[in-house]
């Protein structure tokens, strides 16, 4: 048995399986919903939409194409983009910090985005700036939190994975406390903030996708370009430098990109936890830790997983919605505990 060669085959197999599964989940997500259309009607409407554009008519209610175009499709696309973003950012953070338990949520990056978003919601003059206010503030919050955590964990030019995780948890708690204080202090916005925090894709719209998708796509491209360097970083900064990369700079740049990717996702979807932890971990078990393979399969699997979770979220108690963050946390929490136990505490 040669695992090195087996992994080539497994990688192709996993990619193929993920593509097939993704198409299936997308079709299922288009087909089901609270609007009272049958699955057959929605799929016919989707066909009409794709062939004739939004004016198409056929064996379905005439509002069906609009429903798909304005509600379901943007929501599906946003779920895919956010899922891929969280997973690839998670995989990158795990690589940069050499710790399979690293994740935007645990590193305080999500909390930073959350605080930024809360400020944008409660500070009225800002809302005049339109729909870009919240994402912009979430961006800034996530990036600042990432750098704060990084600075706190760096001693004399060396950054240790364990310190990073600890300062991530500490910074995350502090930022969450400030966030809670702001929420209590400005009661009238409490509901908006809480709904945002619980995570959800209910307000998906194409305008949001136009902002998120380019950032996430550019981030993914950069991570792929840096994938071999990320492999080297798994052996520590000093060893990576001995093998030919400027470790500190590479690590810093990757951290900015992963934080931006996280912020781009989180700013429109709220705090969706554990996707960034679970997805890379499961994929690593299948294709190995090489980031050249890990990143693409994580992106696909993350997209698939979040779309499936969101489809459950909007149909399980229809017409009521469960925040998708509740579903990911409900499955991710136990998974995290399992990892802790299985890895003897890491």
């Amino acid at each position: 048995m040669n695992l090195t060669k087996d992994r080539h085959k497994v990688y192709r197999l996993v990619m193929a399986a993920l593509v097939v599964a993704l198409v299936a989940v997308i079709l299922a997500a288009v087909a089901v919903g609270a609007a009272g259309l049958s699955a057959a009607e929605t799929l016919r409407a989707l066909g009409g939409l794709m062939i004739h554009g939004s004016d198409a008519t056929g064996d379905y209610p005439d509002w069906a194409p609009r429903l798909l175009l304005d509600l379901r499709l943007p929501r599906i696309v946003l779920a895919l983009v956010v899922g891929a973003a969280l997973s690839t950012a998670g995989a990158s953070f795990q690589g940069i910090f050499r710790n399979p338990l690293a994740e935007p949520y645990l590193l305080g990056v999500s909390a930073g985005a959350g605080l930024g978003a809360t400020i944008a919601i409660v500070w009225k003059p800002l809302t005049e700036l339109g729909i870009y206010t919240l994402p912009l503030f979430a961006f800034v919050g996530a990036t600042l939190a990432a750098f704060l955590v990084y600075r706190l964990a760096t001693f004399a030019g060396h950054t240790r994975g364990a310190s990073l995780l600890l300062s991530g948890v500490a910074v995350g708690s502090t930022l969450t406390a400030i966030m809670s204080f702001l929420m209590v202090a400005t009661e009238r916005d409490l509901h908006t903030v809480v709904v945002w925090l619980m995570g959800g894709l209910t307000t998906a719209a194409w305008t949001k996708i136009y902002i998120t998708l380019p950032v996430v796509a550019a981030g993914f491209l950069y991570m792929m370009l840096m994938s071999r360097r990320m492999n080297l970083l798994l052996m520590g900064e000093e060893r990576a430098r001995e093998l030919g990369i400027d470790s500190q700079r590479t690590r810093r740049n990757l951290m900015i990109v992963a934080a931006l990717t996280t912020a781009a996702a989180v700013s429109f979807s709220g705090l969706i936890g554990f996707v960034g932890l679970m997805v890379p971990h499961i994929m690593r078990l299948l294709v190995g830790p090489d980031h050249r393979r890990l990143l693409p399969v994580s992106a696909l699997f993350g997209a698939l997983l979040l779309l499936a979770a969101d489809t459950v979220a909007r149909t399980a108690l229809a017409p009521a919605e469960i925040p998708v963050g509740v579903i990911t946390a409900a499955t991710g929490g136990p998974f995290f505990l399992y990892l802790l136990r299985a890895r003897k505490g890491v």
Partner: protein, 448 residues
Amino acid sequence: MHAEAIDGRSGAPVGAAPSSHPTPVYDIRALEVELGGRRVLGPVDLRIDPGAFLGILGPNGSGKTTLLRALTGSLPPGAGEILLHDRPLSGYRAGELARVVGVVPQQFSLDFGFTVEEMVAMGRYAHSGRGAENGNDTGMRLRGMPERAADGEAVAAALAATELTELSGRLITELSGGERQRALIAQTLAQETPVLLLDEPLNNLDLNHQLEIMQLLVTLHGAGRTIAVVLHDLNIAAQYCEELILLDQGHLVARGTANDVLDPTSILEVFKVRVAVHRQGRRPYITPLWSRTARATKASGDRQVHVVAGGGAASELLEELVLRGYTPSVGVVSVFDSDYATAQRYELDVVSSPPFEPFPEEAIRALDTLMEEAEVIVVAPVFFGCGNLPSLEATLAAAKAGKKIILVERPPITERDLSGGRAGTLIEELLKAGAVEVETPAQAAEAV
């Protein structure tokens, strides 16, 4: 070992045609390194010429690893400078440096499940992708592993040289410490650099792999590589390296061939260990005698012990006592006696007598003096005949004077009494006078 598989590749140091004044690979001038505000190295001046095979020796904390990490660029100089091929080391880009200098670090961890082959292939980073061709090391090669034919060959050769071919498909996280160490060495070999810096590369390796790795370095050196290796085994260093340097408290105290550097005086000075140096040609062999630090630090107090020895019966006892930090006096023993040799080895005070003769008067007087100075007297399980009975008699006198006496009684005196019962009587009297009986040398040393 299949070191020949990686011979000749990138062999000659860059621009280093043999001449009377070769450009040094490393030119280290007044180098000082500080860690945490404390100077841990230097000032050190050192030239490493092309084709050198340099062993770096010194006790823990002498600055060996610091020197090596300064050469790899991991530690910036606090003062002075390091030139690599006539250019300041700090001026090298990481990718460029990794094509010239390969490093086997002392500490290494990889907790992610790469296979051995995947890990070794990472050593090719600086060579493959765009990085090698145009000096712009974005390192983008996304598909295909190993990356190119040349990379595949280098990886295969490195695996073969470290005897890891069989293990190439195994997970690095599932290997033993020694196998991981070999994988680390293989990763560095795959870099195919003209210069190799190794920090205690024999860590975790069992004896046969230690020798194989050193043999591999010899082969690489023969193929023109420049090698500097930190070793803690003086004998391995003496046997394989062409040149040695000795560091002590951050300073370079000796440099030269093994015969120049490894003399008993400088080793005692630096390592606080007394050694015997056996010179065989130009590669000496060293055996440690005893450690001055062990003696100084053991909580033996100043309690003086005398050992009644003879016929090799006390050798183990003397070792136990020296190990526990005592400096026992010994006697009376014949100069042909192996107990005499043991006492000499540990540089103990010893009362000796000519062989095959009764103890001379002056020997017995000397024995009385030593016993007077001693607080405790240990009688080893010596065979007693008429010749050495005076030792026992002196011991009895000391017992009556209130000294603590310990008798090692295995085998019992009845089996080693060649004096027609007189020794047995003396032992009985000693017991009456309060002597303690024990069975083994270790117990005796404990009882002291």
